[in-house]
Amino acid sequence: MTLGPDLVARRFGYGLPLPAGAPVTASAMLQALDGPDRMRAAWPLPLMADHLPMLQATATLRKTQKDKARDDDRFKQALTELDHLVMLSLRSTLARALDAPDGFRERLVAFWANHFCTRAKDRLTVYLPALLIEEAIRPHLTGPFADMLIAATTHPAMVLYLDQNVSFGPDSPQGSRKRRGLNENLAREVMELHSLGVGAAYTQADVRQMAELLTGLTFDLTTGETFDPRRAEPGSETVLGQSYDGKGLQPIQAVLRDLAVRPETATHIATKLARHFVADDPPPDLVAALAQAWQHSDGQLGTVYHALLTHPSAALAPPAKVRWPLDYMVTGLRALGMTGADVIDMADGPFRRRIRRTLTGMGMPWLLPAGPNGFPDTGEDWINPPYLAARIAWAMRAPTDMGLRIADPMAVLERALGASASAELRTAVARAETRSEAVGLILASTEMNRR
């Protein structure tokens, strides 16, 4: 089935123009997805192995010097470096989306990054949420969901965010010696948010058992240790009627594998995918088709995407979804002809003010979700007076802010929207008093905001 360039760009990518040779059919898009991750190679980010030595050194400094660390130049320098890493992760995310051939891979990364969102709890760990996206999401984008679920649940960013590092099996050696016990946070959210969904038939007892199963998972900033058998609860645990036993990560991986293929998980995530890509109230037949593809393939994500791209509503649903702020901003920057290199090369000050802070104003502060349920995904959540004002303000100032001299706003309109520009928008652009306001109107238009 042919989707065509407009649909591929709008519904599954970051708007027009598509680069020459971009895939415009479902099979070509899936093939590209199975191929090498070119954008990651083009705009790389440091991985945990690169990051850990610096993290360990700084954490050790804090541990040994306590309050005095704050005045230590090495500590101050590390904090600056960490902030730059967070900025770099945003720059790379934008650059990859701007330069991507069809944008679908980057859109999927953004979807899953939100599904498994984390937030740093202290200044030393601010880069970890970006690492989770890089290491637990990107490599598992098309494989079995179980792989992604395991990688995300056991990732240091998640372990710290949902307090798994302070959960001790009550009868484990450490638990009984230190008189410490369970913390249910991660166990609950894995079931409620990441797999089964809150409507599923699990009980408080399942959450407790899951929490016992997860004990041992931890993250120590000073040593880099990720599993401590001395805090793992001995014996077997039963989750949803299934018993799990064994040492180390093995039983944790086993329970997550089972959760990943449960029908409740299939329906929960099928609904989220359909809502994200197609409609706030997703067509029930689309949700059913995705859930069915999930169950038939045991959660092979590539198979689920195939069902999404080839379902009739992928082509027929009206372009009514409101773009997420980051998605909206990339679409605008593309319309202005910006490339990945432009964003990577932007000076820190302007990048902070014009990109990072603007995303916050639009309601999507980078790597700072309000809770583990992530950012919401319906139009009403994003288009309220203050958030829309931030979008309009950004649109009106973008040409100047990005240092662009736009000779012909109409050319921007044709390139970015073409046939989908409304007659009202064409009239308004022609009547604007200044070129920058004309471009601002294009960027602020509903055609740019909705997909």
Binding site: N183, E184, Q204, E380, I383, N384, Y387, A389, A393
Partner: protein, 406 residues
Amino acid sequence: MAKLNRRQMLKGLGLAACSAAAHPWLTTVTLAGTDGGAPLGDHRLIVVILRGAMDGLDVVRPVGEAAYAGYRPTLLARRGSALGDFWELHPALAGLMPLWDREELGFVHATSTPYRDKRSHFDGQDLLEAGTGLDVPVAAVRDGWMNRMLQAVPGLQVQTAFALGAEAMPLLRGQAPFLTWAPDQSLPISGQGQALLQAIYHDDPLFAQAADEAILLSRQMNPDAADGMMAKPGGKPGTGVKDVAVLADYAAGHLRQDTRIAAFSLSGWDSHRSQAEGIQVPLTRLQGLILGLRDRLGPEVWGKTLLLAMTEFGRTVRENGSKGTDHGTAGAMVLAGGALRGRKVYGAWPGLDETALYAGRDLMPTSDVRAWAGWAMRGLYGLDAGLIQRTIFPGLDLGADPGILA
């Protein structure tokens, strides 16, 4: 029933804005006098949603309960002020004691929504703000209880409410118009640009409405910079201690005039670990908010004000393995204001013996959070009990009048 659509309301606001130059803040978020009446009277209601599940057992401590200290080995290291013989107030709220002494501070204990067992923040908050019982699936409820109240009262000026801050506030969502604004957001656009923007949004109600309100509100917030290119898309309000002063200032500015109801949220209550330290910030902010509102409202308006601070559910009776508490069931509600009959902890106390706990782990609920809000609305605004039980909180049994108002 006076029912204005949003567009009419905004037009009215625009008229009010003509005289905005003399007032640095919105002169009227309310449309005064469209039907000549003042259906909500003089009382002010401020609803604060404490997002994240406040540990009621730590904030209002049942120290007279024999079993209590045993459940909480690390959380009682710092002791607070006595609230009578049985209760103790968390030390981070010590600044509220003068209010307690003047009967302007009180609490409800062992109260909860009808939400049970799943202990999900997000479901819990939805249910709290939708105000329905469990017989109606929350996802099916598109409007919040306060909005239903605004729609349901005959002769009510429907625009007498606004939501503060940019985050979604389901409590107010619904057909009755309300206004949302972040105190630090403004909008750079010329008069011509504004007209063109309104033209291109004309056929998209979601964008048209939000843009109309944004343009109007930004003008009124910054009347001197109407055509300026000053925008401050700053952080989300309500994330720091200082923001609370801005919130209190902003809310009080409106409540001193025609606004009768304000609602917003304070987050940061999800104290899974190191609660003794972690709860300091949200409590400091709550205290700052209450004191800030009292100071800025002044004695007369404060005397007619009731503040209700409610949370999605309480937390476990026992500390968890990391000096925090996990999601529980019943919790506490904070009441303040000159309209309150305070210096009292309301609600039947279920006790903390093993057998008295809910599911062996949580404080047993003995009342429904919605009933307290219901009695507040009945007392402040004279709303009919049937209206409260059928329309605003469908399926609620109000029970006997607990007499929370002075």
